[in-house]
């Protein structure tokens, strides 16, 4: 603690003078036209740079790898208007979708511009892997030396938490020859950037056996109940069965799963067959993107559990649908290419993903590149669904754990993109017997494990609560990267970003030997009128969760919004099978919110209000809220609202 003669009221030491200076500097920079060929690809000012990263020096110049050059959309305003119309039931253009070729012709770069880029990159020594059908992405292969020479930055080796990877040492600079055409380069970093959104009942250490049925493994279908529900229970809970009664199965439609790990087909077919679901043995097609999953994400990995449950859940709810499973490496340009591959193929009717990362990890060019692909999906009529995360209102605290770091209200990507349906989570009514007594939830509420706080802190202590139960729940909150979309305007319950959001971490936790105490990692803007998420919620709490068939056995006590995204995929695919042949649902969020504004929670509404509880910060209420979104579903009513059977 320093001493000083105090002269005047001062700015807070946390950041004010620095941040104000940075803000003014940013204003000064953006007010000037940057010279072509020297402008760095700008990150968002909120982007978090992890101080735990260790620079290991310049990487092998001859090492080769794949990256994807992202190109600028053309006619962006017209595309935005087109997407708004195809998602608006009152528009004459409602559900009049276009093909990838039509999209490329209207909104992708021109063939001449693409040829110019290809010619330039070839001259630099890059091999062209693929010009994507949308004329917005060009995947290339080159060496680190070529990347460095072309994009004005050295490529270094880094390590973080024991993982080594390569990345640019400084911001990339687009060559002048690409000005006005290219916007960025995806995949320069080879770090595994995305994680699954699954969760299980804590069942190790002092908590082992706290819930007797947690994590049990069985060769037969576990008895139905909290922690061991299946798609059959989900169908009853959310009124899917009337659609089956009308003969809908998803037949003639195709589910799309985007994932970063492989799996075993034997597991998913066993799940369906043991539940008595009749399915086509040839219903699944695997599509490897950029070579498919990394070896560490093979069929026995933790990520394989994610892929497995994604297929089991979506395909179980729509047992007549075909399934295309897109599998990419969790590194470099894999995630972007994953979506691009699925959307450019244009063979799936709904696409879901249960992998993500905090939105503030992304730079502006990444955010824009993904958004362009999601615009394409909307234009082609493909709803995209993403899990909203499993760290409650504090998405980033999954990695920067409390109390080693401060809490930071944050949301997950890609769920934060307004073109994506953000799948949130709830806890179903239940009375779960724990070692020291039952814990009862009387009505469906947002998933947030603070309802277990009294029990855990009383019998196991506060430290264990922080370690295993705090910042666990359904992802939800306010984006600081995406503005409030039109469909969420004039909607009671939406919020702006909260004040006082700074992430401080203990230097010891960060492994920073250069200092002691706490370090300020990132500061987020207050009162930003951002996209609110989630949009919808279904049961996701492991305590009221699900059974999964994985590695030839049934396991109980699984949950997470990882379940909800594929469940909504199956539900929308099922509904789509009741639409006229050849039609798709299209941009889903504008249709959901229009239905909500028309029907609210009245009788016959697709939406069921979640009115009590929270996701460890945001509170549920009988209107939109960032804990549960619009609430949970009556699927039969949703089908009617979307024009289905």
């Amino acid at each position: 603690m320093r001493k000083m003669i105090f002269g005047a009221l001062r700015a807070p030491v946390g950041l004010s003078a620095i941040s104000i200076a940075a803000t003014l500097a940013l204003v000064a920079v953006t007010a000037q036209a940057a010279p072509l060929g020297s402008a760095p690809i700008a990150p968002l000012s909120k982007k978090l740079v992890d101080p735990r990263i260790v620079d290991l020096g310049v990487a092998d110049a001859s090492a080769g790898r794949d990256v994807t050059l992202t190109l600028a959309l053309r006619n962006k305003a017209a595309l935005d208007a087109f997407v708004a119309n195809v998602g608006n039931p009152k528009s004459a253009s409602f559900r009049k979708f276009i093909t990838p070729a039509q999209f490329a012709a209207s909104y992708g770069q021109t063939p001449a511009a693409v040829a110019q880029v290809v010619s330039f990159l070839t001259a630099q020594g890059f091999k062209i892997n693929q010009v994507h059908a949308n004329n917005l992405l060009i995947s290339i292969h080159g060496t680190n030396a070529q990347l460095a020479a072309t994009f004005g930055t050295a490529i270094h080796n880094y390590s973080l938490n024991g993982e080594t990877y390569q990345d640019s040492a400084t911001a990339l600079k687009l060559p002048a020859q690409l000005a006005g055409i290219a916007t960025g380069v995806s995949g320069v970093s080879t770090k595994a950037a995305f994680h699954t959104h699954g969760a299980t009942i804590p069942n190790t250490g002092a908590l082992a056996g706290d819930v007797a049925s947690a994590g049990t493994v069985s060769g037969v279908v576990p008895p139905s109940g909290p922690g061991s529900y299946t798609v059959l229970d989900l169908a009853s809970q959310y009124n899917v069965n009337p659609l089956y009664g009308k003969g809908l199965t998803g037949a003639g439609r195709t589910i799309g799963i985007a994932t970063l790990a492989s799996y075993s087909k034997t597991d998913v077919f066993s799940y369906w067959s043991q539940l008595g679901l009749a399915v086509d043995p040839n219903r699944i097609t695997n599509v490897n993107v950029d070579g498919g999953a990394l070896p560490k994400d093979g069929p026995t990995s933790g990520g394989a559990g994610e892929t497995t449950l994604d297929i089991e859940q979506s395909g179980g709810i729509a047992p007549g649908a075909n399934i295309r499973v897109y599998i990419a490496p969790n590194a470099g340009n894999g995630f972007l290419d994953l979506f691009a591959a699925a959307i450019n193929e244009n063979l799936v009717d709904v696409l879901s993903v249960s992998w993500g990362s905090p939105e503030i990890y992304n730079g502006q060019s990444d955010t824009d590149a993904f958004h362009a692909v999601f615009l394409q999906a909307a234009a082609q009529g493909i709803p995209v669904i993403a899990a909203s995360g499993d760290a409650g209102a504090f998405d980033i605290n999954r990695s920067y754990t409390y109390p080693q770091c401060t809490t930071l209200l944050t949301v997950d990507f890609p769920a934060a993109d307004p073109l994506v349906l953000a799948a949130g989570g709830t806890t179903l009514p239940s009375s779960v017997q724990h070692r020291y007594g039952p814990v009862t939830v009387t009505q469906e509420r947002p998933w947030g494990w603070d309802y277990l706080r009294d029990y855990i802190t009383t019998y196991y202590g506060n430290a264990l609560f922080y370690e295993s139960y705090y910042t666990v729940g359904a992802g939800g909150g306010v984006s600081v990267n995406y503005a409030l979309p039109d469909f969420q305007t004039a909607l009671t319950g939406t919020l702006a970003s909260a004040p006082a959001q700074s992430l401080f971490c203990d230097a010891a936790f960060l492994g920073d030997p250069s200092t002691t105490g706490y370090e300020d990692l990132v500061d987020l803007p207050a009162n930003y009128v951002g996209r609110n998420l989630p949009d919808l919620s279904l049961n996701a709490d492991p305590y009221s969760g699900y059974s999964v068939y994985f590695q030839n056995a049934w396991g109980t006590g699984s949950g997470g919004t990882s379940f909800v995204a594929p469940q909504l995929n199956g539900i929308l695919t099922l509904i789509a099978s009741g639409l006229p042949a050849g039609s798709r649902i299209g941009p889903i969020n504008p249709q959901l919110y229009a239905a909500f504004k028309a029907k609210g929670y009245a009788v016959g509404s697709p939406f069921r209000a979640i009115t009590t509880g929270d996701n460890e910060y945001y509170k549920a209420a009988a209107h939109y809220n960032p804990a549960s979104g619009l609430g949970s579903l009556d699927v039969s009513a949703l089908s009617t609202a979307l024009g289905g059977k």
Binding site: F6, L9, L15, G517
Partner: protein, 179 residues
């Protein structure tokens, strides 16, 4: 001073201070609490930060703390051989919210007394900075800071809140008597 004037003062001084080096504040972790006791509180003594000295020494200490949930938070400072007033300034303590848009929550005029009660503020989840200013009136002076948070209650929980604030008031009175 009304709030608008305070904000204007903070803004002007923040800009004026841009050229000055800024030292980091001290982060104060929340008290761990006993099992089942989940009230948020932060209690610390200035000695822990080496804040003591001969008579006449002034100090300006900056403490950062994280409020995980929305809380009603009260502040109490108890000095021993301390006056909470900088020699050339009238400030006692200042409370800021941090984040990308720092803001002033409140400031308290300095006092020659040995304690300050900072009132109770409804703070939303986030990181805050408490600045404390004063001087030692005699050698080896020290001071304690007690920050007590109580959850923003559901409508049925107002009685508990009032009880919690009552406990805080009792603590303040006892500290005053001891000083």
């Amino acid at each position: 001073m009304n709030f608008i004037k305070k904000l204007a003062l903070v803004a002007s001084l923040a800009l004026a201070g841009m050229g000055a080096a800024q030292a980091a504040g001290t982060f104060i972790p929340m008290d761990s609490g006993a099992p089942g006791d989940f009230e948020n509180s932060w209690s610390f003594n200035s000695v822990a930060f080496g804040e003591t000295g001969p008579a006449g020494t002034t100090f300006a200490d900056y403490f950062l703390f994280n409020v995980p949930d929305d809380e009603y938070v009260s502040f109490s400072l108890f000095g021993s051989k301390v006056t909470f007033r900088a020699l050339d300034d009238s400030l006692g303590f200042v409370l800021y919210g941090l984040g990308g848009s720092p803001f002033l929550v409140d400031l308290k005029t300095g006092t020659t007394a040995h304690s300050i009660e900072g009132g109770t503020y409804k703070l939303t989840s986030g990181v805050y900075e408490l600045d404390v200013f004063g001087a030692f009136t005699r050698t080896n002076g020290t001071y304690d800071v007690n920050i007590f948070g109580s959850p923003v209650p559901e409508p049925s929980g107002w009685a508990l809140l009032l009880a919690g604030l009552g406990v805080t008031g009792l603590m303040v009175r006892r500290r005053k008597q001891q000083a």
